[in-house]
């Protein structure tokens, strides 16, 4: 079969056999209940993700509203070569970037889509021995968080605030990865398809994002004011 593989996704996966084909058929037949279900399933996540690109919540809502209109218009042309979610999120990102650039709401050079900063170390290099036999090994290792579990951490409003602030402060290229992978739980492969980045790139960014949140938690547990 000679098909264009460029427009929708780099992924060649056919997703029609995992139930999405049925969903798509219903949408194309104009089933309002299925449309409501689709909107309910993705709307909040789209808003959270849009906020990685535009600073203003109202603008994010408009971007997502525009996205749904584009989805409605494009449904008949969608060929199912990526998952519906990948396609919808792709549309949203395109619109959000366009809106962000036009409005220059938060022009911040560290926030721009760039791989330049991917070479930076996730963890402060001064925490490791710089020379000698132990070069590259911990000089100042992290102190254990005792019996901190995710649930215990989340029972503290201060910890939740510290984490949310750290996520909020992330540059766009780290924030979109963390939101997709950890907040929304999107699998790595699909996250790469949505963001159009390689898995290597995904993990470099994801780890830097997680490390910044870890630092915020570390600061909170040590009773210091987070520096982010």
């Amino acid at each position: 079969m000679n098909i264009d593989i460029v427009t929708e996704s780099r992924s060649h996966r056919m997703v029609a056999d995992n139930g999405e084909g049925v969903l798509l058929d219903r949408l194309r037949q104009g089933d309002e209940g299925t449309f409501d279900e689709l909107v309910t399933r993705h709307h909040s996540a789209l808003i959270r993700m849009a906020l990685a690109y535009v600073a203003d919540r109202e603008v994010a809502k408009e971007v997502v509203q525009d996205t749904w209109m584009a989805v409605i218009d494009g449904l008949s042309r969608f060929e199912g070569r990526s998952s519906l979610r990948t396609w919808i999120f792709g549309i949203m990102i395109h619109k959000a970037k366009d809106r962000g650039v036009r409005e220059k709401r938060h022009v911040n050079f560290s926030s721009f889509e760039s791989v330049d900063d991917d070479n930076d170390e996730a963890v402060d290099p001064s925490r490791f021995h710089q020379s000698g036999e132990w070069a590259g090994h911990w000089a100042f290792p992290p102190q254990p968080w005792d019996d901190q579990t995710p649930e215990k951490l989340l029972s503290s409003q201060q910890a939740v605030t510290a984490m949310n602030r750290a996520i909020e402060a992330l540059p766009q290229t780290l924030k979109n990865v963390l939101i997709l992978r950890d907040v929304e739980g999107v699998e790595a492969k699909e996250a790469c398809d949505i963001l159009r980045i390689t898995e290597t790139n995904l993990y470099v960014r994801l780890h830097r994002a997680r490390e910044r949140v870890r630092q915020a938690v570390e600061s909170y547990l040590e009773g210091r004011t987070p520096t982010v």
Partner: protein, 93 residues
């Protein structure tokens, strides 16, 4: 480059390298060879074991953070557009 079978020594991996691999390792996105090197390192390095645990805690906590659920304010308008569009498509115009 030829190494005799069985005589190879697992190369030392630094803590700084472990840190870079932490997220990929936790999400099982490392090769078997890399995973073995990391596991061997973690067995003898309390600092890295602590670090990996902390990243895992952060990853899991972020996923559990309270999330605002919302519906579009103009769902009705979207629904109307959806119905209008699909009817137009099915009528072939």
């Amino acid at each position: 480059m030829v190494q005799e079978e069985g005589s190879a020594i697992v190369p030392e991996i630094t803590c700084q390298e472990i840190v870079q691999w932490a997220s990929a390792y936790l999400d099982e996105h490392v090769s078997d060879k890399q995973k073995r090197r990391i596991v061997l390192h973690l067995a003898i390095c309390a600092g890295c074991e602590t670090y990996i645990q902390q990243i895992a805690t952060v990853r899991d906590a972020v996923q559990l953070l309270p999330k605002a659920e919302e519906q579009p304010s103009e769902l009705h308008r979207l629904r109307q557009a959806f119905v209008a569009r699909t009817h137009r498509s099915s009528s072939g115009s």
